[in-house]
Symmetry: C2
Subunit: 111 residues, 2 copies
DNA sequence: TATATAGTGAACCACATGGTTCACCAAGAT
DNA sequence: ATCTTGGTGAACCATGTGGTTCACTATATA
C-alpha cells in the first residue's frame, strides 16, 4: 500500500517495540543514529530504517550535524490517533450499554 | 515477527483503514462476514482475514451462528494503547517545555 | 596527508500482508 | 433430495517489512 493516510502511518509506526523504544529514548533528548543503535542491538543501517519510518510518520525529525545525524521527537502530537482511540472507546462503551440494556430488559421479562 | 505483544498487535490491527472501518461498523451492532464484505468491496475470504487480524488483537469476537458468522466488538478496550499514547504525549510536552526553557534562558542572556 | 568514524544506499534474504481464485462444506430453502 | 448460499482453507501473487552485509562518502582526528 503506497498511499497511506496519517492514521495508517502513525499506527503502523507505533506497532513495533523497537520504534516505540526509540521514541521513549528521544523523549529524554536528542540522540544520534549510533546512540540509538547500541541499546537496540542493531546495525546502523537497520536502525536508520526505523528512524526513517518514524520520520515519515512525523514522529521524529532529524538533522545532519557534522558526520552524525541528530534525531529528535517530531511535530506529530498524535492528536488524531488519540481522537480515534477515544472514538473507539465510545463505541465500545455504548456496546456495553446495549448489553446492559438487554440484560435489564431480560430480567424484567423473567420476573 | 511471530512473537508480538499486545501493543504490537493492537497498533498493527489499527493501522489499516479497512479494519478501522470494520470496527466502526461493529460499533453500531454485530454483523456477518458478508455484511462487512459488501461495503468494503472485498471478497468474503479477504474480509475474513481482516476479521481474523482484529480477533487476534482482541478487538473483535466472532461466533458461528447457522451458516453465517456473527462478528461483534471484542473485549479489548485499548486501555494499554491509550496509556501509551498518553505517555508519549507526556514526553512530547516535556520536550516542548525544554525548548521553552531554552528560549527563555536565551532571551535572558540576550538582554 | 593518512586514518578512523558515522552514516548511507544498494542488494539481498526470509517472512508478513493484503488481496485474489477455486474447491469444498455445512446450513437453509424448495 | 436437490439447490443455493455463507463461509472457509489452500494455493497463489505482488508488495512490504525487518533485518543483514558490503562498498562508499563525508567528516574528524592524528
Amino acid at each position: 500500500m503506497v498511499h497511506q493516510d496519517v492514521l495508517d502511518r502513525a499506527f503502523a509506526a507505533l506497532s513495533d517495540s523497537t520504534r516505540r523504544g526509540i521514541l521513549t529514548r528521544l523523549g529524554e533528548g536528542p540522540a544520534t543514529i549510533g546512540e540509538l543503535a547500541v541499546p537496540a542491538g542493531m546495525s546502523l543501517t537497520g536502525l536508520k530504517k526505523h528512524v526513517q519510518v518514524l520520520e515519515d510518520a512525523g514522529l521524529v525529525t532529524t538533522e545532519k550535524v557534522g558526520r552524525s545525524r541528530q534525531c529528535s521527537l517530531g511535530t506529530e502530537r498524535l492528536d488524531d490517533v488519540m481522537a480515534w482511540i477515544t472514538f473507539y472507546q465510545g463505541l465500545w462503551e455504548r456496546r456495553l450499554d446495549g448489553l446492559e440494556a438487554y440484560f435489564t430488559l431480560k430480567k424484567g421479562l423473567d420476573k
